[in-house]
């Protein structure tokens, strides 16, 4: 944005560059396409149902109180059921879908997954990168092979295994299938390859054990790579709709945040878009806040893992 303004103000050192202008124009269009759904999401979360369906009221809607029909149907007086759209949308999101509970579940699940993934991936990656043993290449080939398997292909066998163990409808079912991340192993192995052997040899000469080396030497050097991996892992599992939907069929209290969206679906009988979009806003907020706080790391991470 600032570049566009700059181009309007005459500066002595400034030279119009068609190429840069074109690049920015394309980027701005791209940014608009990406931002438009967010705009709609926020706008719908502020408006009353009739404004949403009739597509009136601009960004904010008129904020006139409207009648909550569900409240009337439960036998309350009409005057008691007049609600302000914003308050209605957001309170419904928190009450009807107990979002705080879902957010807590989301945190528990994503953090457990990430922590266990790190515990598994770091030693594996270290072994694959720095230790010489028989069959190392074969093991690494298997890791690469596993990268090619889409989760949807193995969802059913995984489900049946968990079911036989009686683990469906538990936190375990949400966490266990993701604890071994071949992507994590691959990413960390690639990173460890770049760590000089001298560092490890020095540590060995100082009498450190192999595990000591992993946690006290390799881990600190690997922080940027871990950040990158963490971003992928947390974003993927925070937003995952597919797997929680498969394994959580009994207890609504185990829902992760995205499953909260389904509470407002009505298909041919009309969806309740206001609270649905309010839920969506609340779900993405933690990720956006994290992104803003760790913006630089985030971009570093993407370039790092961008298969340079």
């Amino acid at each position: 944005m600032s570049d566009v303004i700059q181009q309007d103000t005459p500066a002595t050192t400034f030279r119009f560059n068609t190429r840069a202008a074109l690049t920015h124009a394309v980027l701005i269009v791209g940014a608009l396409i990406v931002l438009l759904p967010f705009y709609t999401m926020i706008s719908l979360s502020l408006k009353a149902p009739h404004e949403i369906m009739q597509q009136t009221g601009g960004f904010m809607g008129s904020q006139q109180p409207f009648r909550d029909d569900f409240c009337v149907k439960l036998g309350n007086a009409v005057e008691d059921c007049l609600v302000n759209p914003i308050i209605y949308n957001y309170t419904t999101a928190f009450e009807k879908a107990p979002l705080l509970r879902y957010l807590l579940n989301g945190v528990i699940v994503t953090v457990s997954i990430f922590v266990i993934q790190v515990f598994v991936a770091l030693p594996c990656a270290y072994a694959l990168a720095k230790l010489r043993f028989w069959g190392r290449e074969a093991v690494f080939a298997l890791v690469l092979f596993c990268l090619l398997i889409p989760v949807h292909a193995i969802a059913l066998p995984l489900y049946i295994m968990l079911a036989k163990l009686g683990l469906t409808n538990t936190y375990a079912a949400l966490v266990i299938p993701w604890t071994i991340s071949v992507f994590g192993i691959f990413l960390m192995r690639q990173f460890f390859m770049t760590v000089p052997d001298d560092l490890i040899d020095a540590a060995r000469m100082d009498g450190m054990t192999e595990y000591g080396i992993i946690w006290r030497v390799m881990l600190p050097t690997a922080i940027p790579a871990l950040m990158a991996f963490g971003i992928f892992s947390i974003v993927a599992h925070w937003n995952d709709y597919f797997w929680p939907r498969i394994v959580i069929t009994g207890n609504r209290d185990l829902f992760t945040p995205p499953l909260g969206l389904r509470e407002f679906k009505g298909d041919a009988d009309g969806d309740n878009f206001g609270p649905m979009m309010a839920t969506a806003c609340i779900i993405v907020t933690p990720l956006i806040v994290c992104f803003l706080l760790a913006q630089r790391r985030f971009i570093e991470g993407i370039t790092l893992s961008g298969m340079k």
Binding site: H50, M53, Q55, T56, K96, T249, D269
Partner: protein, 419 residues
């Protein structure tokens, strides 16, 4: 590993046993679709149920996001051995659960009831959940296709409540008049409703089932008539190919004069519509005498309990019966656009309600036309649904112009899937 598993199983069994002996309340686990629509219904029903059955507790499971999701979930839970005691399933998805032996026959419970017919369970309703002469499902919420009219738009072409179209020919005439009066988009016809519902509506209108056994019936005279009727509606009205949400939104915004849709959306439309008068009226027929039958949509309660405990089963039956009869059933109509298929609830408890809510009364007047929403048998049922859907979409977009050709093509392709 084996030892830990055995230990875990023992612990689980032990906790289950203690729960049984301590718990005075019998817990009935219950799953249902579309929480946005039905939460309010169960919220209204539950206090009444608890009053009548203080020793039973209903545990609501995670809701299904759609009928298809509901069926998928039950099929998965059957593998995992975690089935709920009672589940709500789309009317056209009951058959598969009966075939696989997941749903339990309700006959023993019905036999034990003294006044089953008096509770308002009439034959047409029981037929919807009857397979091989045994009742498996009791319908809970029923919808039928109806016509929605925006009276202000209709008035532009000289229509009022007394002369709304009653045949599809008249609908097309109305479209022409509305267009002449400056209405761009006069009508929407819900061909895209799940399960080829509206094709089945045109077939039942001529008293013809869409499938008989494994035979797809589109290759009949009635089938061709149904396709031709659709084509004349779409082309005569120059109907736009809108998806569900867009169609409901256009009608709510007051752009459309007529919309043919399920009665279940009345509640949603009333919530979302602009400042105009909504009138619902009988679904038009192919002939002047009106439709001879219409497919029922909605969901049905099935008993899927795996328990052998007679007390547990009795509790599940008590809940199943409560929500499909009497006050429980009446709350369906009070809280949603659906109606209970229960005669007693409709005629006695809800008589005043329908007088106050004429938009919801149309479907009740059509109740005698109630017919089955047919599932396509076999493992390719969903694929067959999709093939037909694509065919119908081709009529809307104008891709298919020769209906005889389309009839032949669809019949062959679908029949292959069903054999």
């Amino acid at each position: 590993m084996k030892r830990t598993l055995t230990a875990m199983a023992l612990v689980l069994a032990a906790t289950a046993a203690t729960a049984d002996s301590n718990g005075e309340k019998i817990v009935v686990e219950f799953g249902y679709p579309y929480s946005h629509l039905f939460d309010v219904t169960y919220e209204a029903i539950l206090p009444k149920f608890y009053e009548a059955h203080p020793n039973i507790e209903i545990k609501m499971r995670a809701t299904y996001e759609s009928y298809e999701d509901g069926t998928n979930t039950i099929l998965r839970e059957a593998v995992a051995g975690t089935l709920p005691d009672v589940t709500m399933q789309g009317l056209n998805r009951q058959a598969i659960l009966v075939e696989k032996g997941i749903a339990k026959s309700l006959e023993p419970f019905i036999a034990a009831e003294e006044d089953f017919a008096k509770d308002g369970y009439h034959q047409a309703m029981l037929d919807l959940g009857t397979f091989d002469d045994a009742v498996y499902g009791l319908p809970f919420s029923i919808s039928l296709p109806v016509g929605y009219y925006n009276m202000e738009v209709m008035a532009k072409a000289g229509y009022d409540e007394t002369n709304l179209p009653t045949t599809w020919e008249e609908v097309v005439q109305a479209c022409v008049k509305l267009r002449d009066a400056g209405v761009d988009n006069p009508m929407f016809w819900g061909w895209n409703i799940t399960g080829n519902w509206f094709l089945q509506a045109l077939m039942w209108s001529q008293d013809k089932p869409t499938v008989m056994g494994n035979d797809f019936q589109l290759d009949s005279e009635e089938g061709l008539k149904a396709l031709n009727t659709m084509q004349s509606i779409f082309s005569g009205c120059e109907m736009q190919n809108l998806e569900w949400k867009a169609a409901l939104a256009s009608f709510s915004a007051g752009d459309l004069g007529m919309m043919y849709w399920s009665t279940s959306a009345v509640g949603a439309v009333e919530r979302a519509m602009g400042d105009f008068t909504l009138v619902t009226n009988e679904y038009p027929g192919i002939t002047a005498s009106g439709p001879m039958g219409l497919p029922a949509g909605g969901n049905s309660a099935l008993l899927t309990s795996t328990s052998d405990d007679p007390e547990q089963l009795a509790a599940a039956w008590a809940w199943l019966k409560f929500i499909t009869s009497g006050e429980g059933a009446a709350d369906v109509a009070r809280t949603t656009g659906y109606m209970p298929p229960n005669q007693a609830a409709n005629e006695i408890i809800l008589a005043d309600f329908y007088a106050d809510n004429p938009a919801k009364a149309t479907a009740v007047r059509q109740l005698p036309l109630l017919r089955e929403w047919q599932a396509y048998p076999g493992d390719n049922g969903l694929a067959a649904t999709q093939v037909i859907y694509d065919g119908l979409e081709g009529i809307v977009t104008g891709e298919f112009e020769d209906m005889t050709e389309l009839q032949e093509e669809l019949s062959d392709e679908v029949q292959d899937l069903l054999d």
